[in-house]
């Protein structure tokens, strides 16, 4: 009796494991095209790059915005497998925080903010006396970091932007840093998001 019940138990455990793997396989294979497949592919073809780290919650949130289309986004993994270091590619591109986005034609944003905050570079990472508290968390070693009051992310740029009314143009060396909404990404490559 005991042996029979034990066999049932072992068979059940094996069946459950096979079932879990089977469900995963079927879900993966029968997935429908994602809503943002074309958008994610357009970002890639237009030369946008998303630098991130697999462990970073902000990067995970950004990928989640794309849903099942995330496999097409132009993502570059910057973290070493142990999560403590950074790949040479990202070091060479001066990626200092995640997520960071770059665009081939630079970054354009609209803001009625008359005087956006520009945090000065801090080569040592130390707080600069007299600067606003928000700068302490977003310092760059190399570049100024711009914060516009109507955006929840910042723009890191070695060159100052060109202002034209309420439109601010940063050159192609600029990086948008933080959780960037899809609408903003779409504006950069002039893509109309699906409704």
């Amino acid at each position: 009796m005991f042996k029979t019940k034990q066999n049932i138990f072992i068979v059940s455990v094996v069946a459950i494991i096979i079932l879990i793997m089977g469900v995963g396989f079927i879900v993966e294979k029968t997935a429908k095209p994602g809503k943002y497949d074309a958008f994610a592919q357009a970002l890639k073809s237009e030369g946008a790059v998303f630098y991130g780290a697999f462990w970073c919650p902000h990067c995970q949130a950004t990928k989640a915005l794309f849903g099942s289309s995330k496999k097409y986004i132009p993502y570059v993994e910057c973290s070493t497998p142990d999560s403590r270091g950074q790949t040479n590619e990202c070091k060479a591109n001066k990626v200092e925080s995640y997520p960071s986005w770059t665009f081939k034609n630079g970054i354009t944003l609209k803001s009625s903010d008359p005087k956006p905050l520009a945090c000065a570079p801090s080569p040592t990472g130390a707080k600069i006396e007299g600067e606003p508290a928000v700068c302490a968390n977003i310092h760059s070693e190399y570049a100024k970091v711009w914060v516009f009051s109507n955006y929840k992310f910042s723009i890191k740029s070695e060159k100052d932007p060109v202002q034209n009314g309420d439109v601010w143009n940063f050159d192609s060396s600029a990086m948008a840093v933080g959780e960037i909404p899809l609408e903003f990404l779409a504006e950069q490559i002039k893509f109309t998001l699906p409704q």
Partner: protein, 181 residues
């Protein structure tokens, strides 16, 4: 990161969801179909210790695999959860060897405290992402706010640990109930 890691994360996350569904089933059975001759509860009772041993051993093996083979560093809260998970392998193992039922209460307390720490870790994971962006790895210590695994928009390592802790508590609760009958 080795290429098999995303697949491993996906399979373990599916397993976690399965354990969560199983927890709801056990909880429902204990609440609404709480009879001593309930075949499902009786089956769980008869195999409490082998299930507990396999679950705790699996959790220990997976956590060591993540930190020592793949290389994800364990943060302070991860270590605290390990303190309450690893001894359960010994406890359940000793029951299987010596048939000492006295381990039930000890295993319950360990699972309970471990689950509380997992809950706190889940809170830290969500609250830890309050800055605009993540600092690069070279600038950070082993932070408990980072998520090495994040599947189905909610399954992370502490969620796996919490699911396992709750599962162990439920099978031990069931064991005590059926044994008392």
């Amino acid at each position: 990161m080795p290429t098999y890691v995303p697949t491993l994360n996906y399979i373990l996350s599916l397993g976690t969801i399965f354990i969560q569904l199983f927890c709801f089933t056990i909880f429902g059975a204990l609440l609404f179909f709480r009879k001593k001759d309930n075949v499902f509860l009786k089956f769980l009772h008869d195999y409490t210790f082998i299930i507990g041993f396999l679950t705790a051993f699996g959790a220990m093996a997976i956590s060591l695999f993540y930190s020592n083979v793949i290389g994800f560093p364990a943060c302070e809260l991860c270590w605290m959860q390990r303190i309450f998970i690893y001894p359960q392998v010994i406890l359940f193992g000793m029951e299987l060897w010596k048939r000492e039922k006295v381990i039930v209460d000890y295993a319950l307390v360990l699972a309970f405290i471990g689950s509380i720490i997992s809950l706190f870790h889940i809170y830290v994971e969500h609250g830890g992402a309050s800055n605009l962006a993540c600092a690069t790895g070279s600038a950070t210590e082993v932070s408990c706010a980072v998520r090495y695994v994040y599947e189905f928009s909610y399954v992370s390592i502490p969620v796996m640990a919490l699911s396992m802790g709750v599962f162990l508590m439920l099978i031990l609760w069931n064991y005590k109930y059926i044994s008392r009958a």
